[in-house]
Structures are given as C-alpha cells and as structure tokens.
C-alpha cells in the first residue's frame, strides 16, 4: 500500500486584508534597505488614519437617506444600512427602483461610483 509523502506543514496563505511584501523579510531588507522601512512606517500610519476616517464615514451614514450613483448613469435613493468587512457590498433599506420600493437590498460596491448623504 503506497505511503503518502510526509509534509512538514501546509503552504502559508494570505494574512487577512494585508497585501503582504513584509518589510522585515530578508529579501526586502537586502534589496530595498532600511530607508524603505521608515517610510513604510509613516505610510502605514497615514493608511491607518484614512481607514479610520472611512469607517467613521460608514458609521455616520447608517440610517440616513443616501443617493447612490451607479454605473451607466443610474441613480438610486435608499436608506443606508451597513457595509460588509471588505466593502464588497452595501446593505440598504427602502431602495427606490423603477419597479417599486425594495424593502431591503444589497448593492455591489464595484458598481457604486459615488454615494452621498446629508449630515444634520
């Protein structure tokens, strides 16, 4: 009976939402040097701040009437509900469509060009 070849471990997969290319890897350090690490730290800080602002923006939109500009010149109004963790889809309530009002719907973020809502 053939014995399956043993394996030390499985190949490592992507880490969460990170795009990888770790600045601490030996290849990065050798080829791009220390300067890149410090600029990367500053860039990471900026990214974190922008991300936090974006998440606060999503939270502020919740429950507000929102206008979505979709591809092909389509505009729809709805009440903003929530976004999924990767911002792949927005959940909305009371979506106004030519066919009537959809009580709950998902809008594909890839199709949303812009959205706007009024702050009080």
């Amino acid at each position: 009976m053939p014995v399956p070849v043993g394996v030390l471990r499985l190949p490592r997969g992507p880490e969460g939402c990170s795009r990888g290319f770790s600045p601490t890897s030996p290849r990065f350090q050798a080829l791009l040097g220390g300067d890149a690490v410090t600029t990367t730290a500053a860039a990471q800080g900026a990214r974190a701040a922008l991300r936090q602002r974006y998440l606060r923006g999503l939270a502020a939109a919740r429950g507000r009437p929102t206008r979505f500009c979709l591809r092909a010149g389509v505009r729809v109004d709805a009440v903003f509900g929530a976004a999924d963790v990767d911002a792949v889809a927005f959940q909305v309530d009371a979506l106004q469509t030519p066919l009537g009002v959809q009580a709950a719907a998902l809008l594909r973020c890839a199709d949303v060009l812009a959205y706007s809502f009024l702050l009080d």
């Binding site: 009976m1 053939p2 014995v3 399956p4 070849v5 043993g6 394996v7 030390l8 471990r9 499985l10 190949p11 490592r12 997969g13 992507p14 880490e15 795009r19 990888g20 290319f21 770790s22 890897s25 030996p26 290849r27 990065f28 050798a30 080829l31 791009l32 890149a36």
Partner: protein, 336 residues
C-alpha cells in the same frame, strides 16, 4: 516502499487561476506568480508555496503574469485593458501601460529592459521600460486575438500564438519570419531556451516544435483536452493538465505516460516546472494552485520523506548483526 504523491495546495485566490510563472533561481530561492480572474495576482515562494504578497491595482481579471529572472519585477496583463509592471520586492505598482483591449500576455526580456505584450487587439507591443511614456513598437499581422507572446532566441525574435496560428517574428525588422497553422485552437505555449524548443498544446495534443524553424519535432496525444504543458529543464519528462482535472506526466523521449494525478476540483489552466525541475505547479478553475513533486518521496521544500517501518527495520538489523560479526572476527583471528 511505494510512495504516493502529496500535492501542496496554495489557497488565497477566490476565482480561477489562469496563468502562472516561475522566476529564475535567485539568492533568496525562486518565486512563483499566479494570475487570477479575481484581479489580484499573488507572489509566492517557489519551493514552499508560501504567500509573500498580493499585487493590488488591477480592476479586472488578470489573464497573464510573469516575473523577471531575478524576481525583482513582475508584469501582469488584465481585462481592464492595461498591463502593469510591479516592484516584486515591495509590491508597489511601477508602470501602467494602457491598451485598446483586453491584454492576455506579458513577457520581459532577459535584461528586464523591455516588455512584450499581446492581447485581444491582435497587436504585439514592445515597451521600453526606461521610457514608459514613449509609444511602444507595434507589430501587426495576427488576424485573431493574441493568447501568448514570448521573447525567443536571446530576445532577438518573438513567438506569438493566436487562435489558430503560431508566428515567429524578427525583433529588429518587426516582420514575420514564419507562421505555423494549428489544427485546433492553441491553448498554451511555452518556450524552452536550452535547445530552442517550443511546447504548444491544442485539443488533446501536446506538440514540440523548433523555436527557430517552427518545424514539428514530436507530438503526444493525451486522454483529454489539454490546456497547458511544461517540459522539464533536463528534458526527461513533461507534465500536462486540462479539462479532466488530472495532471499527466510523460517520458519526453518515449511518449510513455508515467503517472497521472487527481487532486484539482476543476479544469487545469496552467502547468509549469520550477527552474530547478524539482517540482511543478498547476493552476485550476477551482481557484487553487498545487505544487507537485517531480521525484515523489524526495525530501525537498515542505516535503519530508519519513518512512518509520524501514527506519525501525534498519535499526533492528544493526543491533542483531554487530555482536555476531565481532565474535566471528575473533574466531577467524584465533584460528591458525
């Protein structure tokens, strides 16, 4: 003791993997890039399959991906009508090259100074990467969308495949040197510099042609439609995969089918040997890449050959024979 192949599955992509390429051997090992319909090509360590990073920026399916020899640069071809050049160490996007239609194939010259692209607009483009804003040299002649475009003969010639033809072009004159009509739609093409061999697949056929004359050297028929094939660097064997989800290994000299492996859950779109020939990678419609050993049972990368029964038997044999041998030797020495 018979060993059974244990493929290593690399997950991470969320859509079919349509192309993959290895770099050359670098001081940090060799690397693997995969092109995927999810628009996010990934870089992996070649011998382990460990994910290193994802190139983010394309807005459509990525149809082709390649690395330069020392894996410092990557290039990708996508359905968003662009080809992009990336820093493969930092993951940063370096250059975006706008095209008029879906781009299917990209290839660096050996010095990484020029990029060849080909796609649905039926034109081959040669970009000088030191002057990315300059207009590329354009080579026309194909009558259907280009599926693959490769540099050959020390970057002095270009090989390109469309639906039904494979063409050889001279780089300096930008003119066609030879054309080969293929019976069925070409599914893949690989250029092997040592020996100037062109590997093309169409229908159930895996064919080998001279890259200089396009004359056929030999061809094999597989049991199913083949989408991709790759020749081992030492030209001892080749691997192929296609629509029946299986990988086939053939002896290059005799054409004998040596092995076939199941494992993927969808058609195999691309297969490539590593630069040292110790493993081959396959990309599938099922969204995974799998790494397979060329010599099953050899300790390499993440594969470790551990055979407990044999080890115990060897140890037991050593214990029983040693004292006996010593006694026999003493008797021999004592006898007159």
């Amino acid at each position: 003791m018979a060993m059974r192949q244990t493929p290593l599955t690399c997950s991470g992509h969320t859509r079919p993997v349509v192309d993959l390429a290895f770099s050359g051997v670098t001081p940090y090992g060799y690397f693997l890039i995969s092109a995927c319909k999810d628009g996010k090509p990934m870089l992996r360590q070649g011998d382990t399959g460990d994910w290193i990073g994802t190139f983010l920026g394309h807005k459509g399916a990525v149809w082709g991906a390649t690395l330069n020899t020392d894996a410092t640069k990557a290039a990708t071809a996508a359905a968003d009508f662009t080809a992009k050049v990336w820093d493969a160490v930092s993951g940063d996007e370096l250059i975006t090259l706008a095209h008029k239609h879906i781009v299917k194939s990209v290839d660096f010259t050996q010095d990484s100074n020029y990029l060849l692209t080909g796609g649905q607009d039926k034109l081959l483009r040669i970009y000088d990467l030191s002057k990315p804003e300059a207009e590329p040299d354009v080579v026309s002649g194909h009558t259907s969308g280009i599926k693959k475009a490769l540099w050959s003969s020390d970057d002095k010639q270009i090989l390109s495949a469309d639906d039904k033809t494979v063409r050889l072009w001279d780089r300096s004159t930008m003119t066609e040197v030879k054309a080969l009509n293929v019976a069925m739609s070409v599914s893949s093409m690989e250029y092997v510099p040592e020996g100037q061999i062109l590997v093309i697949t169409y229908g159930k056929t895996i064919a080998f042609h001279s890259a200089e004359t396009l004359e056929q050297i030999k061809s094999f028929e597989a049991p199913a439609t083949i989408n991709s094939a790759s020749l081992h660097p030492a030209k001892e064997c080749l691997v192929a995969g296609g629509e029946d989800f299986k990988l086939y290994k053939y002896d290059y000299n005799t054409g004998e089918e040596l092995e076939s492996y199941k494992g993927h859950f969808g058609p195999i779109h691309c297969v490539r040997f590593s630069p040292d020939g110790e493993l081959y990678a396959s990309g599938s419609e099922d969204g995974t890449l799998r790494l397979w050993q060329t010599t099953v049972g050899k300790t390499y990368g993440l594969w470790k050959c551990v055979v407990p029964e044999e080890e115990n038997a060897e140890a037991a044999k050593a214990r029983t024979t040693l004292p006996g041998t010593a006694e026999e030797e003493i008797e021999e020495l004592a006898s007159p």
